[in-house]
């Protein structure tokens, strides 16, 4: 494992990569794509960030993220109740899209990471670990918590002159979830995981 061959995803150039120092990264000399990252203790770190992320995700979904006060009336909303509100207005496509990108994909992403990495940490392989890890990259593309956060901020400012808006606990959990998920992603060394879980060549 001192040096490894990586075919660039973006331009198909074959690269030989020497062992990377901690924090180092290798880029494709031809097109500049990121090829590999040197992460120390990748499995433990990614697992820790995923577990932290899952806890934050549960808080972010269990509590209201915004409350609105207007002429004595209060409404508050959680992620799932906002999806439900769209569903009630028969906007199924939009409701489905929000459910997928703000709830299902981030949750599945964190669960898949934990499912693959937790047993691996103790040298075990979870059943179906290979399809699960293959699924991970696809799920990641649909997880958009950071975009959702910008949406919340825009909505907050838009409503500010109409009513009094109170941010809830879930909003802070969401704000923390974003860097934690990014840290989980950047500390994952897929090549290392594939080496451990893949069928022996």
């Amino acid at each position: 494992m001192n040096s490894r061959l990586i075919v660039c995803r973006d331009c198909a150039l074959l690269n030989r990569i020497a062992h990377l120092p901690r924090g180092g990264s290798a880029r494709c000399p031809r097109c500049g794509a990121l090829l590999a990252r040197g992460v120390f203790d990748s499995i433990d770190r990614t697992l820790a960030f995923s577990l932290a992320g899952l806890s934050l995700f549960l808080v972010a979904n269990a509590f209201p993220f915004l409350a609105m006060r207007m002429q004595g009336l209060i409404t508050e909303t959680t992620l799932l109740t906002s999806v439900w509100a769209l569903y009630e207005q028969k906007r199924l496509l939009v409701a489905g899209l929000v459910l997928l990108t703000a709830v299902a994909a981030p949750l599945l992403y964190l669960l898949l990471l934990i499912y693959v990495l937790a047993p691996l940490r103790f040298g075990l392989h979870a059943p179906g670990v290979i399809p699960c890890f293959r699924l991970l990259r696809r799920v990641q593309a649909w997880s958009m918590v950071e975009v959702f956060m910008i949406g919340v901020l825009v909505a907050l400012v838009k409503l500010a002159d109409m009513a009094q808006i109170v941010p809830g606990i879930a909003l802070w959990a969401f704000a923390l979830l974003i860097p934690v998920m990014a840290a989980a992603t950047s500390s994952l060394d897929s090549e290392l995981v594939w080496d451990r879980i893949g069928r022996p060549a």
């Binding site: 973006d10 409404t75 909303t77 496509l93 990108t101 949406g151």
Partner: protein, 208 residues
């Protein structure tokens, strides 16, 4: 010319393992020894699928901008806004940083993404050899910015959920939001379908 390309190593599309498959025969599907994915040279029917998604997204772009995206009913007054008139509303209230965010995310990003993908598709089909590294970077940028178009969908969702005060005020999602959502998904699928390796599939680019 293509023979050279095909003898080069292939990266497994799922686990990135470098594989040397001399030739992928028709009817036989070689699988990656490490993860079991079917080994493919390039994404299957990449150009055709990408064109299909780009055209479908461009068609949705029109109603997404023409139809109102939401209606705010406040004390009996109903005000419908398209994506663009929503931006103008923000501007007229002096919220220009916010107007800029929404304008870039909802109007500029999808359009820039479609233009970039059309350009990349045509350049690959014309077998262009002009600045392949920059075209690959353009593709990566296209892929990275697409998700930010979802901002408006989330804003509408939050307003619909939060502003539901019966006679006092309600917000309704309108057909424009549906077309807009469909357009965002289609541009995401279009970027996913495009294979940037096609930019490099010219024998005369292979030594560089």
């Amino acid at each position: 010319m293509t023979a050279d390309v095909r003898s080069l190593p292939i990266g497994c599309h799922d686990c990135d393992l470098a594989l040397r498959v001399p030739r992928i025969e028709h009817g036989v599907a070689p699988r990656c020894p490490r993860c079991g994915t079917v080994v493919r040279h390039r994404k299957p029917r990449s150009i055709a699928r990408c064109w299909a998604f780009v055209i479908a997204a461009a068609i949705c772009y029109v109603p997404a901008n023409l139809y109102p995206a939401m209606t705010v009913v406040s004390l009996g007054n109903a005000q419908s806004d398209t994506i663009l008139s929503g931006v103008i509303y923000l501007l007229s209230h002096g919220l220009w940083p916010l107007a800029l965010i929404v304008f870039v995310a909802s109007v500029v990003v999808p359009l820039a993404k479609l233009v970039a993908l059309v350009y990349l598709l045509i350049s690959v089909q014309a077998r262009s050899r002009w600045r392949p590294a920059d075209r690959t970077r353009l593709y990566r940028l296209t892929e990275a910015i697409g998700r930010w178009s979802m901002v408006d969908i989330y804003v509408i969702t939050i307003l619909v959920a939060l502003v539901s005060l019966g006679n006092l005020a309600t917000v309704e999602a309108e057909p424009g939001a549906v077309f807009f959502g469909a357009m965002v998904v289609l541009t995401l699928l279009a970027a996913e379908a495009f294979d940037p390796r096609l930019i490099w599939d010219r024998a005369d680019l292979q030594d560089g």
